[in-house]
Symmetry: C2
Subunit: 395 residues, 2 copies
């Protein structure tokens, strides 16, 4: 993997970069859709490519449990198994173990837990996390980290940072494949001092990229942005920076302004399945009765195939009768919204117009002309309630 | 609508025809996929077109209940509402009322029933069935008929035939739109005399086409074919003939051999969702453990995009973890199988090779070389258990 920064914004820390992988080049800042068990739910690789994505995320924890990393390896690795021709990043499984699995027991050696599927007993250490991710065969793999639920006492956070550094070093030592990039994950909760310590520890270990983990778990936006303000300057400018499990469009802008290059979030697909549609002027909740005879597209400014082909009335009907196609079309629209949003953000950075893009985003979200259809006023990103602990990171 | 027969097989009653509609020309014999509430579950209009379909079926009963035929009319009719550019046939709702709805009360006036969704009370007569189907706006609409569950006493079947004829005349009288073709539906259970009487009654009323209804409801194949042998000769050669709710590939061949031009069935989509995949050598039940590491496509002879892109191992995994994409990909494969099967059947008729096509179908189903993967022997169409009353016609 190689990474280069083509342009750095002068007013913010936003930057335009290119991530080169064996499965294509990715323009950054980029958003990764999440394929928990292979595909983004209901979406095939051809769809994802059409939507403009070149990098997606697969969950090591879920694929380790089903079908098993050895099956995936025997079938030629994730790219061949799933048919996705673009690049893949696998998370290490740490977040899922701490949030989904049962009876977690953490020691410096690793984590024992019970599968959330069948209660079977498992043990994952930094070494097995590397073994699993090498078998899955993604382009970018993640160090095994300890993610702490917030709020947490300082000594708990301190111990998790210490252990995350210890495990990061063991991940590096355990690697066998040289054709995968390995990213370290910064922890530290909402403690600036610990965030900086964690970042410095990992930078000392020289990873191919750095992720900011343990955020988007219920904290406020201001807290999230404060953590980025503290952490990002401690990371090398020459390496990609990845904010895990984020997020809403407003979060993406603010994190890019603070120097983040990569994101992943289940929000476009999960919200799509519940009928929450992202638009340039806030959200459309397609189940609402007001859309029953609404012939307009989801978003008049959107150029996706769903907005080109279907009315809100039809999508309302499909959602209402629980048609599988509703989930698929809503997900396609939302994914396009995110993909197009990042594309426009990159164009703005390239043109030195990132600040104007950021302002225009907030202006449009507040424009009453756009809110006729959502008079309740709960239309915008900035008004959304914070995602719950389990709400944004896992599919 | 116009219909012409281009070529009639010399050894059987198979024939090659063209059905002209305002939404395109359809080569017959043709199979119609079923979009109960608009779309075939999980499949969008573009997919259906790519799969080679030019005519699909929508269920008047389901669309009458949700979103309501008036909503569809207000949104410009089914084509505009669903985005399907091809031709549409709506069934009259009779079959669904008798099989799905509760507390049906039938008089010569019409049928009172309770919705299977919310128990609300409804009344549908030949006149309202026409009103509903004119509002929905399909290219081909069906007369309102009385479908009798089998086995049934002769006097019940006689009464249903009498009422079906009565209602057929009232459907013709109630029509307002002149841009939709109207088909009559032959009833009569498994009674040859009643089948012929029903057919002759309807032919006297001069419909644009004729359907054979009340079959594929649990009777044996031999009984079904015997009814076709009796009924089809009573129908005019110049009009399209439609066998409703059928069926398995073997049924399609045998019915084409007896002069049928059109079919509809939920089998490719419903079976797809349950992991039953149609192949040239019988069925593949993708959930079986034997496919966990099987790198081959579903059917080595299939040219669909699923067989071109995915292994049985991946489809097994997707089915196993209940991924929505499993239903979609399995349905696409099955729909392609049916579309391609009909295309090859039409080519065979055109080349005067229908008898050879029919023989080769049965030979391939019995070829042990193809059955390595399905040693239990329950691989073929001819060995399948008869569909249940509710099993094949409704989605």
């Amino acid at each position: 993997m190689d990474f280069s920064v083509a342009y750095a914004d002068t007013q913010t820390s936003a930057r335009l970069g290119t991530l080169g992988t064996a499965h294509g080049r990715i323009e950054t800042p980029a958003f990764m859709p999440v394929g928990t068990l292979g595909p983004v739910k209901g979406i095939d690789p051809h769809d994802l490519e059409q939507l403009g994505f070149r990098l997606m995320l697969n969950n090591a924890y879920h694929l380790y449990l089903r079908p098993g990393h050895k099956v995936v390896a025997d079938m030629g690795g994730l790219h061949r198994f799933t048919g996705w021709p673009g690049a893949i990043l696998t998370d290490s499984g740490g977040f899922q173990i701490f949030s989904l699995a049962r009876l977690c027991k953490i020691t410096d050696e690793g984590v024992s837990f019970q599968s959330h599927i069948d209660g079977s007993a498992h043990f994952i250490s930094p070494e097995t996390a590397m073994e699993i991710q090498e078998a899955l065969g993604a382009d970018i793999i993640m160090a095994f980290d300890q993610c702490v639920a917030l709020p947490a006492e300082t000594r708990v956070l301190e111990d998790a940072v210490r252990r995350t550094t210890l495990w990061a070093g063991r991940c590096q030592a355990a690697r066998r494949r040289t054709d995968q990039a390995l990213f370290g994950i910064v922890q530290g909760g909402l403690d600036v001092r610990l965030r900086v310590r964690s970042a410095c520890d990992l930078v000392g270990l020289q990873f191919d990229g750095y992720a900011v983990g343990g955020l988007s778990v219920g904290e406020s936006k201001d807290e999230m942005y404060r953590m980025l303000d503290a952490t990002v300057p401690a990371l090398p400018a020459s390496k990609p920076r990845y904010l895990m499990g984020v997020g809403m469009p407003g979060n993406l802008i603010e994190a890019v302004a603070r120097g983040i290059d990569l994101f992943d979030c289940v929000m476009p697909s999960r919200h799509g399945r519940t009928g929450w549609l992202f638009t340039s002027f806030g959200r459309v909740l397609i189940k609402q009765a007001r859309y029953q005879r609404d012939e307009s597209p989801i978003d008049p400014l959107c150029q996706c195939m769903v907005c080109a082909s279907y009315s809100r009335a039809y999508l309302h009907h499909l959602y209402n009768v629980k048609e599988m196609l509703a989930s698929r079309l809503n997900t396609i629209h939302n994914l396009w919204h995110f993909s197009d949003f990042m594309r426009r953000m990159r164009a703005a950075i390239a043109e030195g117009a990132f600040a104007a893009f950021r302002e225009s985003f907030y202006r449009l979200q507040d424009d009453p002309a756009f809110h006729e259809a959502d008079a309740a006023g709960d239309a915008g990103d900035r008004r959304a309630t914070p995602p719950s602990r389990r709400g944004t990171h896992i599919c």
